[in-house]
């Protein structure tokens, strides 16, 4: 596959912007809900914004709201955050062959904004143009996700203050419902279902007996062992992103990372999945 000409690159970037628009809308919705949940948990606007700037990971941010509300110490919060976000390893590995010729500092900066959506948009865009396109990466990672997510977080935490009694309007259920919905989005087969069921059951029983600090952590760390003990079964679909709720081809990233192959993971966050899974990450014409 050869690199595309400049007009084609422009066309690919226009397509990238179109793909990014839908993702930005979803990021705004979920960022706003996170801001509301953070406000209900007693976060200040600065604290909520700091979460979205520094952690910048939907499920971990939502989870931290619950951890804080349950009085969990910081150490288990950080351990669970690490495990929750470990899947980014696969996205990073999948994009690494495309970006290995970029300056070290630039790759280090790119890593901070690598999310489900950034991965999906970049993998699809790189595949489309046949090589890495750094401005395209920033469009997908920052313009489509980072900026909308952060502005919406701020809006949620500030506007949430205008609601006199959030529980009267059912807003206190946002957090557990969002956690449950995100969990459903990650259940793509029997093992995930068993892990979620075991995690939930262990979480309730041990939270009741020993307190949420123990119960939540135990559910999150023991539940996967139950899932691993279950037979594989049929995988039904791609998991959903934790920032927008849109499907992401995590399996594609796992396959690419496991095989040590190039990117083009056939990602699908509101964009068509790529058929060719063997693009050339080092295409000329940079």
């Amino acid at each position: 596959m050869s690199a595309v000409s400049v007009p084609d690159l422009r066309a690919a970037r226009r397509q990238l912007l179109l793909d990014s628009a839908g993702i930005a809308v979803s990021a705004i919705g979920f960022g706003f809900v996170f801001g509301l949940a953070a406000r209900n948990a007693g976060y200040s606007p600065i604290e909520a914004s700091a979460m979205s700037v520094f952690a910048f990971a939907g499920a971990a941010q939502f989870a931290a709201v619950g951890y804080i509300a349950q009085g969990l110490p910081w150490l288990p919060i950080l351990v669970l955050t690490f495990f929750l976000n470990a899947r980014h390893l696969l996205y990073s590995a999948s994009l690494a062959p495309w970006l290995r010729r970029e300056p070290f500092g630039q790759r280090a900066a790119m890593a901070h904004v690598l999310t489900d959506e950034a991965f999906a948009l970049a993998a699809t865009h790189f595949h489309r143009v046949g090589r890495a396109d750094v401005p395209g990466y920033w469009i997908g990672a920052v313009v489509a996700v980072f900026i909308p997510w952060n502005l919406a977080t701020l809006a949620g935490v500030l506007l949430g203050g205008a609601i006199p009694d959030p529980s009267r309007f059912g807003l206190d259920v946002v957090f557990p419902a969002a956690m449950a919905g995100l969990a459903v989005g990650l259940v793509t087969g029997r093992r995930e279902l068993v892990a979620a069921g075991a995690g939930g059951a262990i979480g309730v029983v041990l939270s009741f007996l020993l307190g949420p600090a123990v119960g939540i952590v135990a559910g999150g760390l023991i539940g996967p062992l139950a899932g691993m003990a279950a037979p594989e079964g049929r995988r039904r679909m791609a998991p959903d992103s934790d920032l927008t709720g849109l499907p992401v081809d995590l399996d594609g990233a796992i396959a690419d990372a496991g095989a040590g192959e190039a990117a083009g993971a056939g990602a699908a966050v509101g964009v068509a999945a790529a058929d060719d899974r063997h693009p050339e990450p080092d295409g000329a014409g940079r």
């Binding site: 619950g66 390893l89 979480g203």
Partner: protein, 110 residues
Amino acid sequence: MSNELVVLALLMGVVTYPSRALPLLAPGIERLPPRALLYLRLVGPAVLASIAAAETFVQDTAEGANTLHLGIEALGVLACLALVAWRRNLFLGLVAGISVVALARFAGLG
């Protein structure tokens, strides 16, 4: 107004960054054994379900004890679960969950 969670946010960023950056900065480091990859894949649904279930069914009393609780919030979470499983749309699920709880409370049920 306290801003101590800013430090926690920074630390969450610190523990998240290696998984985002290591393969980009040191290619090859991501080649974990398949069992480890499987475990990592299953942590997400397990920990989210654990939080959702504990948050829905366990409450702490003023005396600091934990009690089991079955209230209208469980119905709201269930409505969200059902819609997300059916339509694969989290936002729709959240709207349904909030609506169920709000309507029940307006009707004096919760």
